[in-house]
Symmetry: C2
Subunit: 455 residues, 2 copies
C-alpha cells in the first residue's frame, strides 16, 4: 500500500473507451415501452429526441464503446480526475477503514456532469442538431450542458426546477456565462408547464416537471434535440470514465475497495464509479459491496416501487422499469437538488432489485454534518448531493471501528459545494430541518402508476 | 512545441524550496521603518505580530528557503497545479500569440492563497501561536487561512471588508465551514473599527481598515498572531511555487514566455508567477516583459506615489516604501475585492519603479467581458480579480495580431469565480458600471503621507 495521499494518472490514461455494463449483465435490461401502445419501442420512436448515435448507445451490447477524439480532447481540460486517500479523515474518524475518494469537482462546472454533457453535445453536433433543450435540478447538469454546448457551437435552453432557480441564482449565472438561456420551471413556455401552474401556481417544480417541459419543446422543434443528465443508459455509460480511472488509481495505491459508495439522484455518478468495478465482478472477479445513497425525503430505491413508470410528470416520455415514487410525486425543496427525482436509472434499479447494489437513505442535516467534518479534514467543501455519499462512508467507517476490522471504502465525491454555500449558510444558521418521507403523497402517486402488458 | 493543451507535473515535482528574489536583486529592498522613530525596525519590533520564522524569511538573503515537509504534504492536496495552453482562446481571438495560463483555482479554496496560508499556519503552530487574526477582501484569503488554520488546529478570526461581507456571503459560509469566525469590518470589536464607524457609520470598509483591526487584536493578545495574505516579502516568497512549477511546465510545452502577466492587488499572485522567471533574468538569463495589472479605480502602480506609507488606515503598521494611493484612500466597492488595496508589495513596487515590471490598469466592465469570453473558450469561469490578467492578455494578443508577430504569453489564472457569480449576475444585468479613478480623494490621501527621514 502506498503512503501517498493523491493518485494522479498521466493524461494518456484518460480512457479511450466507455464501459458498457449491459454487455456483462446476467440478464438484459427490461424493455422500454411506448406509452401509447405498451409495446417495446424502436430507435425511430426516440429519433425526435436524441441523435442516432446516442440511441444506438442506449441499446448497445458492445462491452467497449470508443470515445471520439474530440470528446477526449475536451476531457483533457480536467481529466484524469484525482483519487485521494482520505488520511486526515481516517484520523478524525479514528477508524481502521481505508477511505478513498474519487474527486470529480475539478471539472469546469465543478461536478461529474461534463463527462456526459461533452459527449452528448458532440454527437448532436455531428448529426446536425441546431439547439439543445434540457432540464436541471440543482444546476450542475444545466451548467455542464451549457459549457459543452458552447464548446461545440450549440445554443442551449435549460428548464431549471423553480426551487433551485430561486435558491441557486449563481448556477444560473454560470449557465449564462456559457451563453445558455435559463428558464424557471414550471414555466409558461410549454403546455406542460402551464398545466402545472394552472393547478399549483406556487409550484416549487421538480425534475419530472422540468423534463416534461424540455421534452415537449424538443419534440415540437425539428432542429432541436433533448439532452438528459442522468437516468438513461447512455448517460451512465459516459460516466464510466470515473470508475475506469479509479480502477487504475486504486492499483497505484496498492489497495482494493471492499465497498463502493455514491449518492444517487438519477444514478449516473454512482454508476460511473461502480459499474467498471461491478463489471470485473460479472466477469469472474472478486465480489464487492456497492452502496447507492439517497435522501430520506426522496427515497426512490428504499421506499419506492420497482415498476414501469413515466420519466416525467406530464407523461411524454416512454415507460421504463425502475424504482419510482410515482411520476406525480413532488419531493420537498431540500438543498441537494440533484437528488430530487421520483425515479432512478433503470440499470441501477435493476441491480438494486437483483440484490447486487444496496440502497441507503439519510436525512439532510446528518449529511451536512458529515460534509462539514469532511471539509475540515480534507479541505474540499462537498456539494450537498455528495454529502450523502460521505455520510454513508462515515457509517461504514464507524462499523469498521466497532467490528475492529479494516475495510477499504471508495466513494465518489461528485462535486464541490462552492455554488451551494447558501445550503451551508442555512445549515450553520440552524435553518435546515430534516424532512420526513411523505408516505401519503407517495402512495397517492404510486396508485397512478401506468398499467402495462409487457415487463 | 508540444501539441498538448494541459501540462501536468508529477507530484514529486512539487518544489522543495521557495525562491527568494531578494537574493538576486541588484539592490536590497528599502528598509522598513518604525512609525514612531522613523528608524529601520528589527525583528523584535515585529515579534508581537509574526512568528520568528516568518520574520526571518521577511529579511532573508538566501536564494532558496526549504519548504517544511508538513507544508509540502498539504500542498499535495492540489499541487502541482496545471498549466494550460489556451488553444481555443487563441482561435477565438484569432491571434498568432501563444497563450498559456497557470491555473491556481484547483486549491480547496479556489485560489492561489493557500500556498502561503498553509506555510503561515505551520510556522505559527510550530512557535506556539494559539490563534490567528487576519483580514480579507473578497474572502479568498480569509477562506484560505481558515482552511489552513483548521488543518493545524489553530482557530482563525477574520475581519472581512464590509462591501465583500455583504456582496459575498458565500465566502463567509466557506470560512465558517472551516471553523473560522468572520466579522464585518469596520467592526465595533476594535478601537480602529469604532473610530471609523464614528466618522463614517455606513463605511463599505477597505483592506486598510480591516488590516488595522486585525493588527490591533493580534498586538493586544499575547497568544494571538497576525497573518497577512499578500504585500509582505514572506508571502510573495511562498507564492513562488507557482512560477517554479510553471518554469518546468513551459519546458514540457517546449515554449518560452515573452510576456508574463498577473493581476495585482497586494502583488502576491503576480510575484508568485513572475519572480522565478525574473530571477533567471537577474542571473543572466533572457529578458522578458512582466506586466502587473490593476483596476482603473484603484490604480496604485499607475497613478500612486512611490513613497513610504502605512500598510493600514489606523497607522498601526510599520512604514514601507511602496506604490500607494495614501493609506486613507478608500477604493469604490467594485467586485474584484482582492484588488481593493491602497498600497502594493514593496518588492513589486521597487521593480515597477526600477522599470523591470510594467503596470497596466483596466476598467471592470472590459475585464468582465474578457472573463466571459475566456470562460466560453476555455471552460473555466475566472475570479473577478483574474479577469484583469485576462484583459491584459487579450490586449497583448491583439497587438501580436496587429503586428503580425508570434509572442508567447503566460498569465496567472489566480482563481475560479464560483464564489463570485453575483458579479457575473450584475454584469449580465447591466448593473456593473465603470468607476473612474477618484483623483481628488487620492490627492487628499497622498497629502497625508508620513514624513520620514530615511529612505
Amino acid at each position: 500500500m502506498s503512503s501517498e495521499t493523491k493518485f494522479l494518472l498521466p493524461e494518456d490514461r484518460i480512457p479511450r473507451a466507455w464501459y458498457n455494463i449491459i454487455s456483462d449483465m446476467p440478464e438484459p435490461p427490461a424493455a422500454v415501452l411506448h406509452p401509447g401502445t405498451g409495446q417495446p419501442i424502436g430507435p425511430d420512436d426516440l429519433a425526435p429526441l436524441f441523435p442516432m448515435a446516442l440511441i444506438g448507445q442506449e441499446v448497445s451490447a458492445e462491452r467497449e464503446i470508443e470515445i471520439p477524439e474530440p470528446v477526449r480532447e475536451v476531457y483533457h481540460l480536467w481529466r484524469p480526475a484525482p483519487l485521494f486517500r482520505a488520511r486526515r479523515l481516517e484520523q478524525t474518524l479514528d477508524t481502521p477503514a481505508h477511505i478513498y475518494y474519487k474527486y470529480e469537482g475539478v471539472s469546469p462546472s465543478g461536478s461529474h456532469k461534463p463527462n456526459t454533457a461533452v459527449a452528448q453535445a458532440f454527437y448532436n453536433k455531428e448529426e446536425g442538431t441546431k439547439r439543445l433543450i434540457t432540464e436541471t435540478g440543482a444546476g450542475q447538469w444545466g451548467s455542464s450542458l451549457a459549457f459543452a454546448g458552447n464548446l461545440f457551437g450549440l445554443p442551449v435552453d435549460v428548464y431549471m426546477v423553480r426551487i433551485s432557480y430561486d435558491q441557486k441564482p449563481y448556477r444560473r449565472s454560470a449557465m449564462e456565462t456559457y451563453g445558455a438561456r435559463c428558464v424557471a420551471s414550471p414555466s409558461t413556455e410549454t403546455e406542460s408547464g402551464r398545466a402545472i401552474l394552472a393547478e399549483t401556481p406556487d409550484s416549487t417544480g421538480s425534475l419530472g416537471i422540468a423534463i416534461s417541459e424540455a421534452v415537449e419543446v424538443a419534440a415540437q422543434n425539428d432542429d432541436a434535440k433533448y439532452a438528459l443528465g442522468s437516468v438513461l443508459n447512455h448517460v451512465l455509460l459516459h460516466q464510466t470514465v470515473i470508475g475506469l480511472e479509479a480502477i487504475e488509481q486504486m492499483e497505484m495505491a496498492g489497495d482494493d475497495p471492499d465497498v463502493i459508495i455514491g449518492c444517487a439522484g438519477g444514478g449516473s455518478n454512482f454508476a460511473g464509479l461502480a459499474f467498471p468495478f461491478l463489471g470485473q465482478q460479472f466477469r469472474g472477479g472478486r465480489s464487492r459491496r456497492y452502496v447507492a445513497v439517497e435522501p430520506v425525503s426522496c427515497p426512490t430505491m428504499t421506499k419506492g416501487s420497482y415498476a414501469y413508470d413515466f420519466g416525467d410528470t406530464a407523461h411524454l416520455t416512454p415507460l421504463v422499469k425502475m424504482h419510482t415514487l410515482g411520476s406525480g410525486f413532488v419531493p420537498p425543496g431540500f438543498h441537494a437538488g440533484g437528488l430530487r427525482y421520483h425515479g432512478m436509472s433503470p440499470l441501477v434499479s435493476g441491480l438494486v432489485h437483483g440484490g447486487l447494489v444496496e440502497a441507503e437513505a439519510y436525512q439532510q442535516t446528518e449529511c451536512f454534518a458529515a460534509g462539514v467534518e469532511f471539509a475540515r479534514a480534507e479541505g474540499i467543501i462537498p456539494a450537498p448531493e455528495s454529502t450523502h455519499a460521505i455520510k454513508a462512508t462515515f457509517e461504514e467507517a464507524a462499523r469498521c471501528k466497532q467490528e475492529g476490522v479494516t475495510r477499504t471504502i471508495l466513494f465518489n465525491l461528485s462535486g464541490h459545494g462552492h455554488f451551494d454555500m447558501q445550503a451551508y449558510t442555512d445549515y450553520f444558521a440552524g435553518d435546515l430541518t430534516d424532512q420526513p418521507h411523505d408516505e401519503g403523497a407517495m402512495h397517492e402517486a404510486l396508485e397512478k402508476l401506468p398499467e402495462v402488458a409487457a415487463g
